[in-house]
Each structure stands twice: as C-alpha cells, then as structure tokens.
C-alpha cells in the first residue's frame, strides 16, 4: 500500500466534530422552539425541571453533574427558576454534608406538565421516524465516544 494513500481525516470530518455540531444544532432548535412557543424558560431551565420532576430532592452539585454545567452556573439557573417560583431550595444533609436540596414547587410541576403536553402534540408524529433500534444504536455509539474521550481528560464539576 502506498504511503501517500494513507491520509488522516480532518478534524471537522471526524465523528467527534459531527457529534459536536449535532449537539449545537439540537440546542439551537430547542432554544428557538421554546422562544417561538413563548415558554418562559430556557432549554437548560427546562432540563433542570425535567430532572427534578423525576428525582426531586437532589442537591445542586448532583444536578450540575447530570446537566454538565459547573456549580456556579447551576446556582444561577436555579436562582432564575426560584425567582419564577418554579423551584424551592431547602437546607439538608447529604451524608453529613450540608447541601441545598432542590425541589419543584406545585407551580413548577404544573408549568412542567403543561410544557410536556404542548411539546408532545408537536413532536409525536415527527419523532416516530426514529425507531427504537435507532435510538439504541446511537446511544451505544455516543456512550462509546464519551468513554474514549473520558480516558483522555477528566471533567470535574
């Protein structure tokens, strides 16, 4: 085999960059959709609400890890949600450490359910095109990517 035929793919042709771009794409679509539908929340705020609806009573740091934002930013997102009456913070102990447990308020739950309902009617037919098998395969691939990169560098939050 001729050595000249061996050529590296450029970074922007790599699966890493494509994944990065697709993530950006999802973010943009999400933000613009939320704006268009006059939701009073950013996509990150909604993600926080989604996590809290599943597992209420989680501390700020654990939520930050799930959302891949740093503690400072997590605090600011929660400040915004708290101002809107969506979440409530309560001092508590995790192990023996003092933490702030975050909970959805009644208002927060209602707002969350409303958004989910509105999104469902909008997304139902569209997302049908992605089969369960698709999801499984993509998810496996993404997890492999994260695994590989995780060996390179650790992100601590």
């Amino acid at each position: 085999m001729d050595i000249d035929t061996i050529e590296d793919k450029k970074y922007t042709d790599s699966i890493f960059y494509e994944t990065f771009l697709t993530g950006k794409y999802i973010k943009k679509i999400g933000e613009q959709l939320f704006c268009k539908l006059n939701f009073d929340f950013s996509a990150e705020e909604f993600a926080a609400m989604d996590f809290l609806y599943q597992s209420s009573g989680i501390c700020q740091r654990d939520l930050a890890v799930k959302m891949l934002v740093d503690r400072a930013n997590m605090g600011k997102i929660l400040n915004s949600l708290e101002k809107k009456g969506i979440v409530k913070r309560v001092l508590a102990l995790k192990g023996n450490r003092p933490v702030k447990m975050v909970n959805l308020t009644k208002i927060g739950e209602e707002a969350y359910v409303d958004i989910v309902e509105e999104l469902r009617t909008l997304l139902n037919d569209i997302t049908d095109e992605i089969t369960e098998n698709d999801v499984e395969v993509i998810s496996l691939g993404l997890s492999k990517i994260r695994g590989v990169l995780g060996k390179l560098l650790k992100i601590d939050i």
Copy 2:
C-alpha cells in the same frame, strides 16, 4: 395493555438530550485539552482553520454555515485569527455579490499542521477503539436526528 403503563420518556432521557450532552462533553474536553497543551487557539478557531485548510477561499457566511455560528460571531472568530496572523481576508465576488474570502496564511498553515501533528500522536491509540463501522452507524443516526429536527424548525445563518 394498561394505559397507565404507557409513559413518555422524559426529555432528559431522550436521544436528543443525550446527543446534546455528548456534544457539550466533546466541547469541554476539546477546550480543556487545547488549554492544557498551551495551544493559542480555541476549539472553534481550530475548527475554522481546519475548514480553511481543506477549502481555502471560502466566504465568511459559508464558513459560518459549516460551523453553525451566526455571521456576527464568525466575524469575531476571524478577527481573532487575523490578529494572530493566521488568516487573511480578501475582497472578492461570489456570483456578483461582494464578499470577503478567507484564506489561511503561511503562518496559519504551519500552525495548523503543527497542531494536527501533536494531536495525532495523542489521539491515535485512543480513537482506535471506535471502529469504522461505529463511525458509519453513529453518523447515520445523527444525520437522521438532524433530519427530523430540521423539519420542525429551520435555522438560518
């Protein structure tokens, strides 16, 4: 089948959110790696250099579309690269429209090649774990995701 057993997956359990998170993860790893290696460029700047190395003489807007950033931001990224002597902008015509064609300078090409070389030695063994088949499958899946979301909303840059 009992209706109560039918339950929607939460947003943060969806393939969309997982893809979004993985993109964020890649971005963070990239930025921190570039910082750790004392590269004088952000990951977005390097991506621009990578595109320009492939297809020199592209106008700002076309580059912005490839990178999924808006024209204003693209201009600022290129300002930064121009200040460092990496790129050069030349007035030209695309069709009959006056545009600014962007080119890598000699210095830019050298800096780019240096970085690629340093990254290769670092990434070679690690990325072997992701097979060509993996890449193909993931890429197909991501493209399906973009296709589905693209029907929902259009992003114009």
